[in-house]
């Protein structure tokens, strides 16, 4: 059964190394398993993040216990919350543009689900091995802005519109440093394919020493910092949460939403945090891999089949570590002012990212 489930991630082209177990399953079953795998890979992190960080870590940082009643240590609180939201009425304001108003949260959630498609969880454990993987992720990640903008507009509410516009301006500004920060990684790995980027990191050497591989967090540390700051802003987590600044805008573009549509926004926020952390782990922390030297593998083709089962565990661990940092920053820092936010993106992050790209490119040619 375990083999069958992990086979869900395997590619359709029917290529299996000889020493792997025979996992050939029909195409329709593979498609179903892939959909289930995608749901798990998006919703499990979302739930885990909300419980671990939003409920528990934040509470401990504020010297309180957090939810304790539902289930042991409040672990069933999530189900209770989801149940509560599902029961609420699906309201729309009188003047709202109802069709678009109802569509907006779905656009945001769909863009999250489209993101997970290119994230590899093992040598053969991926949904699709997209040649332009990281570029695709950056492009699809920017689609959620559309959902947020029209959510703000269609609510027929000043606060919503302002929140939507703030979100639009912020996401455009921070998308650039994010793209530029990944450029350094792409230059170093000579590929945009995420599995290839992971392979390069795990077969790499630092001054001839290969036992930790060459995770790009070391050589691309500036890129990593810029990427994580940009992710923080793209997710509109504090200190970049002006779009939903509760003291000024009630709840920004989400003000009018209730019931399961609010729930969708909420899930999308934390699911996207998970998926972006998956991508950051693949780009900078060596992804699903362990340094290939440990087991004497030379390239992706030689990696043992059990990495398809261990890989997802490694990915989830790295993802939770990165989300932990995002949430830690979120709970620690006060909100920026709107002009500080824009200045920071355009005058600090983008020049820095450009310089990082230029230096990486020069070193790549010289070395």
């Amino acid at each position: 059964m375990l083999a069958q489930i992990s086979a869900a991630f395997l590619a359709v082209d029917g290529y299996f190394p000889d020493d792997w177990p025979d996992w050939s399953i029909p195409y329709w079953l593979m498609s179903i398993l892939r959909v289930v795998g995608g749901l798990v890979a998006v919703l499990l992190p979302a739930g885990g993040i909300v419980y671990l960080f939003l409920f528990k870590m934040m509470s401990f940082m504020q010297s309180r216990l957090g939810p304790m009643e539902a289930g042991p240590y409040g672990s069933m609180q999530l189900l209770a919350e989801v149940g509560k939201w599902m029961q609420k009425e699906d309201l729309a304001p009188d003047n709202a543009d109802v069709r678009i108003y109802r569509m907006a949260p779905l656009i945001v959630l769909v863009s999250t689900f489209l993101l997970i498609v290119v994230v590899p969880f093992g040598p053969r454990a991926f949904f699709t091995n997209f040649e332009t993987g990281i570029f695709y992720a950056l492009a699809v990640g920017s689609v959620s802005v559309l959902g947020i903008l029209i959510a703000g507009w269609s609510s027929a509410n000043k606060y919503s519109l302002l929140g939507g516009l703030r979100a639009g301006g912020q996401l455009i500004a921070y998308e650039l440093p994010m793209v530029l920060a990944t450029l350094g990684v792409v230059i170093q790995a000579e590929s945009m394919n995420l599995n290839r980027i992971i392979e390069v990191q795990n077969t790499g050497e630092i001054f001839g020493i290969g036992w930790i591989g060459n995770p790009f967090i070391i050589t691309q540390f500036v890129g990593f910092l810029i990427f994580m700051i940009a992710v923080q802003a793209e997710l509109t987590q504090a200190p970049f949460d002006m779009p939903i600044a509760e003291s000024e805008l009630v709840s920004g573009y989400m003000t009018e939403y209730s019931g399961f549509r609010f729930l969708i926004f909420f899930i999308a926020e934390f699911a996207t945090a998970g998926v972006f952390s998956f991508i950051a782990a693949a780009l900078f922390l060596g992804g699903w891999g362990v340094p290939f030297e440990w087991f004497g593998w030379d390239n992706l083709g030689e990696v043992a089949w059990w990495m398809n089962l261990v890989g997802p565990v490694i990915m989830f661990t790295k993802m939770f570590a990165l989300v932990g940092v995002i949430m830690w920053v979120r709970f620690s820092y006060p909100r920026f002012r709107e002009d500080q936010l824009q200045t920071f993106a355009w005058k600090v992050l983008i020049p820095l990212a450009l310089a990082n790209t230029a230096v990486t490119a020069i070193l790549k040619v010289l070395l």
């Binding site: 040649e131 570029f135 492009a139 699809v140 920017s142 903008l149 029209i150 639009g168």
Partner: protein, 177 residues
């Protein structure tokens, strides 16, 4: 067209699913394109335009042009359309229908559209004639970058200068001081 499609279906080179996919996406795109110019709400028009541009990206994917498809999503949906909506919402964006959205010379657009359509159709038919383009794997991105950065380097740089000039011009026009 359906007749030719079915006639070729026996031929192993023709991917029927791909052709059906092309038809469905093209229908959606044509519907959305007409809605862009007929709808009575500016934001709805912009959203229909998103649908058209997403359809173009989907067609690129079907044609095994991954990189171009992703660029299409990134540039047009992620940046241009977001700026469109941003601009519309900052200036005038009523909820509900609005009159007087049509330009006075809108009829002129019809012949222009027909000429463009004919020109593109002629170029495509002239280039490929009745070649059957079978299944192919996506072109590697290296190939694309090698083409752009060696034989087409000069036009590429020229185009980037034009874009830069346009960007600077926009700022100069927008700034009063």
């Amino acid at each position: 067209m359906i007749g030719t499609l079915l006639a070729q279906a026996g031929d192993a080179d023709v991917n029927v699913a791909m052709n059906v996919g092309f038809g469905i996406i093209a229908t959606v795109m044509i519907f959305a394109a007409f809605s862009v110019v007929t709808t009575k709400n500016v934001v709805h028009a912009a959203l229909y335009l998103v649908l058209v541009l997403a359809g173009v990206a989907a067609q690129y994917i079907l044609a095994a042009a991954e990189f171009v498809a992703v660029s299409q999503v990134m540039v047009y949906i992620g940046a241009v359309m977001v700026l469109f909506l941003f601009g519309i919402m900052l200036t005038r964006a009523q909820i509900g229908t609005e009159d007087g959205l049509n330009n006075n010379g809108w009829q002129l657009g019809i012949p222009v559209g027909l000429v463009l359509c004919g020109l593109l159709a002629y170029v495509i038919v002239d280039t490929f004639e009745d070649d059957v383009i079978g299944e192919r794997s996506p072109a590697p991105t290296e190939l694309l970058s090698d083409r752009i950065l060696s034989p087409f380097l000069v036009p590429f740089i020229a185009v980037s200068f034009v874009l830069l000039a346009a960007a600077i011009g926009a700022i100069v026009l927008a700034r009063k001081d």
